[in-house]
Symmetry: C2
Subunit: 229 residues, 2 copies
Amino acid sequence: MLNSYSSADKVLLAVDCIIFGFDHEGLKILLIKRDFEPEKGKWSLIGGFLKRDEVLDNAAIRILHTYTGLHDIYMEQLYAYSEIDRDPVERTISVSYYALINIENHNTELIQNYHAQWFSITDAPNLIFDHNEMVDFAIRRLRYRTSIKPIGFELLPEKFTMRQLLELYEAILSKELDKRNFISKINSLEILNKLDEKDMQSSRKGSYLYTFNKEKYEEKLLNDFVLNL
Amino acid sequence: MLNSYSSADKVLLAVDCIIFGFDHEGLKILLIKRDFEPEKGKWSLIGGFLKRDEVLDNAAIRILHTYTGLHDIYMEQLYAYSEIDRDPVERTISVSYYALINIENHNTELIQNYHAQWFSITDAPNLIFDHNEMVDFAIRRLRYRTSIKPIGFELLPEKFTMRQLLELYEAILSKELDKRNFISKINSLEILNKLDEKDMQSSRKGSYLYTFNKEKYEEKLLNDFVLNL
DNA sequence: TTTTGCAAGTGTAAAAACTACATTAATAAA
DNA sequence: TTTATTAATGTAGTTTTTACACTTGCAAAA
């Protein structure tokens, strides 16, 4: 019966996290070599089970923290996966989340202990269960997000060059962008502070470093816009 | 432990459906007067519990069918709600879905038996639990969907006038649209068949009836576009 | 100290998209 | 046949977007 709580079936509820990072090589995801059955030794998203007294958002935060040591990370719920046999051991529904993290900030020791590893999104291994599908979904969502909210604060080091920002957008959208048009579009958002300092790694002339203007960035996060790149 | 299935907590998993319909009065949702405790007699979304051998999509389809008699309806998963006490009886996570239906097609008797009723989205009663939040989310998603996929096939009668289509978009986006610009933008999608037939209800001149070109409509459903109305 | 090489930085003109808007057309009812 | 009512239709002005190439500043090498 629809109105009967007592006769309804209970299920395991899991959370799986697609953790995005960005470095000079491009956009990456953090994967883990699974150390228990089933599928022991295969690559997988990091995940865990929801606890009785925990909301999904907090489960995702807890799991991320367990594997990376990070707090206060941007996460967003994506989708609930419920195929009957998606997990062969027991009926498990999994809710996916994605996180954006600065690849330099996480606890390296911790991720080594868990046999976790960063993989380029263009070059990631096959994953267990329906995790490939989850990653595809997350990439699509990340692309969409990029067109309505600013991005980068979570993924770039504090100081970065225009080129780095450009390359981040190119990696996410997986297409080349015109440098001049990109710069003027980004500038029109008014979320960047141009520093006097230059980064001299990349060229002899050196390129100006920028930081995000946190206040304006967060204001823009609240109010969606349309950004055609 | 993260890797232990046996010690993980199981929970009830519910599905709640935001069922959208459209008629001459505007955009509506189908609500039900709850006939069991808790919150008996209050208005609620249509919902039910996931069964052990059922995927979420099918649970949503089953629930929609139970209350409306309809099959083959466009539905889309939205979001998982997991606040600890969202359902006071027992820990229940609910996954929301939305459906688009032609308001004239459902089984009227059936919805009467269930004390279900259509409410204008601008004028709906307060709902139990977190169902108001679910409805808000669904409306936002419907608006977004409208900007990247064609809409109307699911919500309008087979033959409809341009004005009806315009009013549907206005109701969804909750803003006035310029008639001429709207028509040329819609026509540029090339998803409509203009019939020779006219609808004479609305005026002395009569207005042409259209149908959706199902093939092209479905082709557009697969490949997103950007439609600025 | 001069020259060389390298990526950074910068502006504009043409094309496309979008907006605002008012008159004529077709028909039924009086 | 006149009147009343809503449907149908096109364009000019503005804004946005796109495509594109040369100069600058610096460090390293000659």
